[in-house]
């Protein structure tokens, strides 16, 4: 635990990032980490040097980046913390998935291991105890069903701003893309969906308004406008030009 005391929030995020990339079977490269965390490669190098000094990562020019045994343990602990907190917020409390995701990202750095163990105990308790025929957790969430209860796609901790890979707001005027996922909160997401911004739909970025104003996009044969923040919540992948 003492190791964690010296790690800053952002160092912890780097550690998890490296951990996840290596777990997916790839060899972590500076550029991958930078993309995953939405930061510049220069800051990644700086962070890696620091982690190397702390003995958590092996990083020297010419050699592959790898976690030390100690680093891997710390990362695993952090990752399981994240997964539990996400599960607790989203599935036990019924917090809206995108909020649960970002709150889990914030909590994982600060919650003490004592609190965490109590939360784990409570989660087990709600799954076991019954209340009027339903499990306590379910009875609590059943108080008000929301369409946003279920899972968002498996998430990773990212910088607060943007960060989910390419978004609509990154698209240059004239660029075409296909919508992958809507990350906005419930109400905004449904509004976008009702207007036709659904995963799989192809869109074209037409223009941006001056002074950081909204963007105009084209889908099917209609023009829609949305604010940049809303556009930044739409994850897209590039589509081949027509």
């Amino acid at each position: 635990m003492e190791q964690q005391a010296v790690l800053t929030e952002s160092m912890e995020d780097y550690l998890i990032s490296i951990y996840r990339i290596s777990r997916s079977g790839r060899r972590p490269r500076v550029i991958d980490i930078a993309r995953d965390r939405s930061v510049s490669p220069a800051s990644v190098c700086q962070a890696l040097r620091k982690l190397d000094r702390d003995g958590l990562v092996r990083y020297s020019s010419g050699r592959a980046i790898a976690l030390t045994e100690e680093g891997a343990r710390a990362a695993q602990r952090l990752a399981s913390r994240h997964d539990f907190l996400l599960f607790f917020l989203r599935d036990i409390l019924g917090v809206e998935p995108s909020a649960a995701e970002s709150d889990a990202c914030a909590l994982e750095h600060h919650v003490s291991s004592d609190t965490l163990s109590h939360l784990v105990a409570f989660a087990q308790f709600t799954e076991l105890r019954m209340l009027g025929g339903a499990k306590i957790g379910a009875a609590f969430r059943g108080a008000e069903p929301t369409g946003c209860l279920a899972a968002a796609p498996p998430g990773r901790c990212r910088r607060r701003r943007g960060g989910m890979g390419r978004t609509l707001s990154d698209l240059p005027p004239g660029g075409r893309a296909r919508i992958l996922h809507l990350h906005s909160d419930c109400a905004a997401r449904q509004r976008l969906a009702e207007m036709g911004l659904l995963p799989g739909v192809e869109i074209e970025m037409v223009r941006r308004a001056p002074l950081g104003g909204p963007v105009e996009i084209r889908l099917e044969n209609r023009s829609l406008t949305l604010r940049r923040r809303e556009a930044a919540s739409v994850e897209v992948e590039e589509a081949p030009p027509e």
């Binding site: 069903p145 279920a150 997401r189 969906a193 105009e216 044969n221 209609r222």
Partner: protein
Amino acid sequence: MKTLRVALAGNPNCGKSTLFNCMTGMAEAEGNYPGVTVGTALGRVRRGDRTLELTDLPGMYGTRPSSPDEELAVKALLAGSFDAVVSVLDSTNPERGLAMTLQLLHMGRRVVVALNMMDEARRSGTAPDSTALSRLLGVPVIETCGRTCAGTDELLNAVLEVCSRNPEPRRISFGDELDRHLRDISRLIPPSRVPAAPSFLAASLLEGSEAAWRLVRHSLGGETSARVAHAVERASKEIAKVFGETPDMVVTRARHGIAMGLARECVPGIFRRSTGPDLTRRIDDVLLSRLWGIPVFAAVMFATFWLTFSASAPLAGLVGSLFELLGGAAADVLPPGALPSLVRDGVVGGVGGVLQFLPGITVLLLVMTLLEDSGYMARAAFLTDGLMHRVGLHGRSFIPLLLGFGCTVPALMATRALDDRRDRLATMLVLPLMSCGARLPVYILLIQAFYPGRQGAMVAMLYAAGAVLALMLAGLLRRTVLAGRDAAFVMELPPYRLPTLRSVLKHVWLRAKHYLAKAGTVILGFSVLLWFLSYYPVPRPGLDGALPSGAQRLEQSYAGRIGRLLEPLTEPLGFDWRMNTAMLGAMGAKELFISQTAILHSLEGGGHGNIASALRARYAPATGLAAMFFILVSPPCVAALAVLRKESGGWRWVVLQFTLLTLLAWLAGFAAVNLAG
């Protein structure tokens, strides 16, 4: 025979309101205040022995409300408050509208589909086949054209026809997996106890619709609705597991898929739809470009401003002098006493005041309707939203605020372009801070008296201070009294269209009429009240029999007494009772400050120079500055208050504005005294 209630529902920009105007003709149609009553307009049509009451619902994309007025509309639809619903589709683009038609059918409403804007669709060779659509949907589909009003008769006949039948909820298949969950949930909802089809409610609950949830809880009670909630919960989890997506997205996507499928089957030319840049796109490439966007917008604004305030000025001036003559004539004819004074200053002055605004308002309404109907208004919002969003307002607030520099009254009416009630109220409440034209002569007088030779700088400073204060106050209001989620700026940029004469004229005519009827009476009432305050009580002639002078009369009137009463409060600003009474008089119209000051200082018919020197002799320059700021920030004239009352739908907003601006004016004056002193 019972009146049939019929709603018009459809996407924004599907020509719904034009069609509504066709159906109701020039007949009386009540413009509604959004967020207070269902729909944006109400009209009656007689058809044989039946009366149809048509409600024009706000433009929506589905049954998920995103603003207070949409919320009311959805609630009314869910509760089955309408005998039939006309689902208006844009024929050039029917898919999106069809998604909503499907929801109405699923809900179990009697539906007639209007394929609107058929002329445009035919021209581009992508006209939907109405017979095929009617066969697939199982409801009448009528081809209409709002521009020429073609198909209106057939539409009304079809509405009457469906109303004679029993409504029958349509079964809609969303695919096996979803259908199974919908069945599981809807089994728990007894159809006889809810006003909408259980299957539709089940789908809405899966989508997380609060309106549907409220309805279920309300009509089924705690125990049953808890069971429903539990089923929804379980289904949500399973759906998420199977589809890897939240249930709301799954349901929306399924419905969208059905709508797409319908469109593919009924629109023969759908694959021939051009995807290349059309005329609208080419126009926008200029009008919204980095280079031309702002200059064109500025030019449009300048033209609007000029037309509203300068082009109508001669007419307004004519009305003003006409009423002055009339007042003079009345005073000559009538015997001396209270009555002629009331007629001259109260009634004729009041009616003149009302009518004086009319030319400007008519021109403004005309320009605004043209901008809105042509599609440029949405573009203006697009261009200015970056700036306005920073202070918590919407791009559509920009034009009203700018018009506020001319006159607050028409600017208040221009806030109708704002769909979100909170945005609109915030804009209306801060509008008086945009220094109106009537304040300029007052500034000039005060500057002449206290800061001669610095006119340009001082006037510019006052205007800028007002605008900055307005934006700051709007931001504050949107975070406190009017806090709430920002209206999502997801909107469609409609294709450019030529406005129809009928629609424009009807709009202008109805609005102008309502201004006269509603605001006019309140303005008149206020002017009579102000006249009363400054006329009564009538002082007795002095011992020597001399009639009291104007100044003495005003001093002893209620207005003068109120001025004196307020002296302790305004003392920190350096105001005496004369200044207070003049400020009170300025409530009638800001420029009245000048004539009131002239009377109070016993300057019969003195020019500006005289008044200025009288002011200079009596007050310190710091007080002059305080007076300027007080005029800038203090509540607007009674006409603006009356229009605010009408446009906001309640006195409480008038009271709020009055209190807020009075306090703020005092603070601004106090700050000015201390800064200058």
